[in-house]
């Protein structure tokens, strides 16, 4: 009996060794020829659902973009190009957007795209539970006057609407599949790839095959697409080093040197800013924060270069603005508005009547690590502010916007201007939980909304100036997001999204 077991063990070991040799290098993609064989992507998070009505963009965009088309396309150059919609135009007061829809597109279930399907999808997104459902806040109605025309009527102008249609809000699924009711796990779109449910493991590995009838084969660079969830930093580094992926979004910037040493190219953009949100600008919860000098003092308290070096290994760019460098609102001079100057900070606090300092309560989150909270505590203690942390656990965001804290460390997305204003500046913005406002700011926001492009740029830069001068935030730096790619794969990053578009990843010549 035991001799048999021993023999089996020897056989098993032999089989393992052989299989190891056989399997190595079997799933790398080839870079020659017009089309690559398999593109394997690494993502840091899984999709919430495969139904576009519940979709989210950012790091989850490739799952959706693979199988659905959007109405418009965001390009690496920062422009908005035609996609399912070939043309678009606004009426005079920017409250009515008319789109012309392609008539040569079929979904992978054989049904055809027309204006009615588009309207059905847009309405579902508006009524659905996508985290971005608020994109259609200003929409009054959707209409399809004929088979190739869609009209979106707004209650007031929304300068970000076109940008939204390049993202989750613009995803279009088959009407038949919507009626079937199982889009969440059985998605049907018109995109470059078709979801292969039987080969996929939800939460781990998503497999797609090329759509043979795709209307735009120019952007269909591979025969097969695999997206693996690599949430663990070690796992993603191992996948990179073992050549088990072609493109991987990394969640930490700690291993970039090692990734480059493995022969990979680092592709980067800077989307988020990290720093303090000084939310209680009227001093409702913490009287001291209501004084602009106190908020300015907090801005002077931070050694931004040191924080960038210490927390991100220098991968990023120091900033004091919440508007991204790509925005017309961005003003280089403002990045030196508050140089690191603890003396000046203490002076300002004294002027404001807080010579003996005060206590500031803020939330902390283990997800964001402990180093950052210690550093914030130290730097603020240095100017006399005592930080009192509480840990709201998984209610971090709900508590922040409830609002239960006057200020917090946070990283927030630096969206295109109007989106950014809607997200963290306007009185109803979700990250303006105390509804801070001023007449000056409200006027500027209104000017932006109603104006043409030049007026918008002008208003945005004035808004930016206002936010910096009045110290609404204490930004430290823009965080570098990295999407390394192997030698066989070329990636063109999008300036406005955490993950590059599927269309912009192709075999290296």
């Amino acid at each position: 009996m035991f001799r048999w077991k021993a023999t089996a063990a020897v056989l098993a070991i032999a089989a393992l060794t052989l299989s190891g040799c056989a399997s190595s290098g079997s799933d790398s993609s080839n870079g020659d020829g017009a089309k690559g064989e398999t593109l394997t992507l690494g993502a840091i998070t899984e999709p919430l659902t495969l139904d576009p009505a519940g979709a989210e963009w950012g790091n989850r965009s490739p799952y959706y973009q693979a199988m659905y088309d959007t109405l418009l396309r965001a390009t690496p150059e920062g422009t908005i190009d035609p996609w399912l919609a070939t043309e678009w135009s606004y009426n005079d007061d920017n409250t009515e957007l008319t789109l012309t829809i392609r008539d040569d597109v079929t979904f992978s279930d054989g049904s055809a795209l027309d204006a009615d399907v588009v309207v059905e999808n847009l309405q579902r997104f508006k009524d659905g539970t996508s985290p971005d459902a608020s994109y259609f806040t200003y929409v009054d109605s959707f209409a399809a006057p004929d088979a190739t025309t869609v009209v979106i009527t707004l209650t007031e102008a929304d300068p970000a609407l076109l940008s939204y249609l390049t993202r989750d809000a613009g995803l279009i699924a088959s009407s038949d599949a919507i009626a079937a009711g199982d889009l969440a796990t059985n998605p049907v779109g018109s995109g470059p790839y078709i979801y292969d449910a039987s080969s996929s493991v939800s939460g781990t590995s998503y497999v797609y095959t090329a759509n043979p009838d795709y209307w735009n084969p120019d952007v269909q660079h591979y025969n097969k697409l695999v997206i693996n969830v690599l949430a663990d930093a070690t796992a993603s580094l191992n996948a990179i080093k073992a050549g088990e992926a072609n493109v991987v979004k990394v969640s930490s910037n700690d291993n970039l040197a090692e990734i480059e040493a493995a022969g990979w190219t680092i592709n980067s953009n800077e989307l988020d800013f990290a720093g303090l949100l000084l939310l209680d600008r009227s001093g409702e919860m913490n009287e001291a924060l209501g004084d602009v000098r106190v908020r300015q003092a907090i801005n002077y308290a931070f050694d931004r270069e040191g924080l960038l070096e210490g927390l991100e290994g220098g991968n990023g760019t120091v900033t004091e603005q919440v508007f991204p460098a790509s925005s017309a609102a961005y003003n280089e001079d403002l990045d030196t508005y508050y140089d690191y100057d603890p003396d000046k900070a203490r002076e300002l606090l004294a002027e404001a009547g807080y010579a003996d300092g005060f206590t500031l309560s803020m939330p902390s989150s283990t997800i964001l690590g402990s180093t950052v909270y210690t550093l914030v505590e130290q730097q603020l203690a240095d100017i006399g502010i005592t930080v009192e942390y509480t840990e709201p656990g998984s209610n971090f965001i709900s508590d922040l916007i409830a609002p239960k804290y006057p200020a917090s460390y946070m990283t927030l997305e630096q969206n295109p201007d109007w989106q950014l204003i809607q997200f963290m500046v306007s009185p109803s913005a979700i990250f303006n939980p105390f509804h801070s406002e001023s007449d000056e700011l409200n006027t500027l926001i209104a000017q932006f909304q109603a104006g043409d492009e030049a007026a918008q740029d002008d208003a945005a830069s004035q808004i930016n100036e206002y936010l910096v001068e009045n110290a609404w935030f204490a930004p430290w730096y823009r965080v570098q997001g990295n999407v390394p790619s192997d030698a066989n794969t070329t990636v063109e990053m999008l300036p406005t999204n955490a993950y590059p578009a599927i269309y912009d990843i192709y075999p290296t010549e």
């Binding site: 399997s23 796992a235 080093k241």
Partner: protein, 313 residues
């Protein structure tokens, strides 16, 4: 015998039920704003409220529990709040991965421990010293560290095995082997350390007993005595330790699954628990409880088969 099995099964069902009730209310007590967590920082209050309503979170806790348990008894564990996947679907695919790891590790550990344990007990001397040393090392070095080195050498360096991911046996047998070998190797060491020590102790204890001397005196060869008689007696305690290892591995596989990006139960549990995906956590809890009940039952039966002195009733 049959009545023993029946009684154990009934007790098992009660255990699973009790575990479900406790888990459900504990999870909700620590719950909070789940809809907000699902939707993230971009969602507005209206969308969050709509999501909570869709998930039935606006209903009283007892109603929610009733909804859950009345479906669960029919085998319907609901749908994941975060992936929209039916819980039973993700459980079954992930159980396959984790059970492969755990059963594989248990088999490897059992075989290697018996060989090492018997060698150490019979030969003594330097072999014994080496086995003891390996056992201490196995206890001292955490599995994930071993895993990292194994990946570095055999997957990244030599390219013999896969560094991440899982290939089902139905897709490719060699692929399957190459995806599970390193994780099993990493998990096995500490299990071997525990069981080999146990076997060494029981075997050397049994070897000094009178019956061994009697058997030897009757002219039986040493191999025959050890494998036919001594191991039978030593097997009981070893099985008990192995069972503990098995149950421990169900939880202990978490880190290994993370390092190798394996779609197992451990990884599912961690992500579901940290995000608050209660339907999935409940599914995992129930499945794990059932497995533990079954394993314990099987161990009892195996003990009886090994040693007729163990009376089941």
């Amino acid at each position: 015998m049959l009545s023993f099995i029946f009684r154990r099964l009934v007790a098992g069902i009660f255990l699973v039920f009790a575990v479900s009730v406790v888990a459900f209310f504990l999870l909700y007590a620590g719950g909070g704003d789940i809809a907000r967590r699902i939707l993230g920082q971009n969602a507005t209050e209206e969308t969050v409220a709509l999501k909570a309503q869709q998930l039935g979170l606006d209903q009283p806790l007892i109603t929610q529990f009733w909804n859950w348990i009345s479906h669960a008894v029919t085998g319907d564990f609901g749908v994941s709040w975060f992936s929209s996947q039916p819980v039973t679907t993700s459980l079954s695919s992930r159980l396959a991965v984790t059970l492969t790891l755990v059963i594989g590790t248990t088999i490897v550990a059992a075989i290697v421990s018996v060989i090492l344990g018997v060698l150490a007990a019979r030969r003594g001397g330097w072999i014994d010293a080496v086995v003891q040393f390996v056992a201490v090392i196995g206890f001292a070095i955490p599995g994930f560290l071993i895993a990292l080195y194994l990946v570095l050498w055999f997957a990244v360096g030599l390219g013999w095995f896969k560094a991440t991911g899982f290939i089902p046996i139905t897709t490719s047998f060699t692929g399957w082997l190459s995806s599970i070998t390193l994780p099993i190797a990493a998990l096995s060491l500490s299990a071997i350390a525990a069981v080999a020590q146990q076997i060494r102790g029981s075997v050397s204890d049994a070897l000094s007993r009178d019956y061994v001397r009697t058997l030897r005196a009757r002219g039986l060869g040493m191999n025959r005595v050890v494998y036919r008689h001594v191991l039978r007696n030593a097997g009981g305690p070893a099985l008990a330790v192995l069972a503990v290892q098995f149950v421990g591995l169900l939880g202990g596989a978490v880190v290994i699954e993370q390092v190798f990006a394996l779609p197992g139960i451990g990884q599912l549990t961690v992500s579901a628990t940290s995000s608050g995906d209660i339907p999935v956590v409940m599914g995992v809890v129930v499945a794990t409880a059932i497995i533990v009940v079954i394993v314990n039952l099987l161990i009892d039966l195996a003990q009886a088969a090994l040693n007729p002195k163990v009376r089941l009733s």
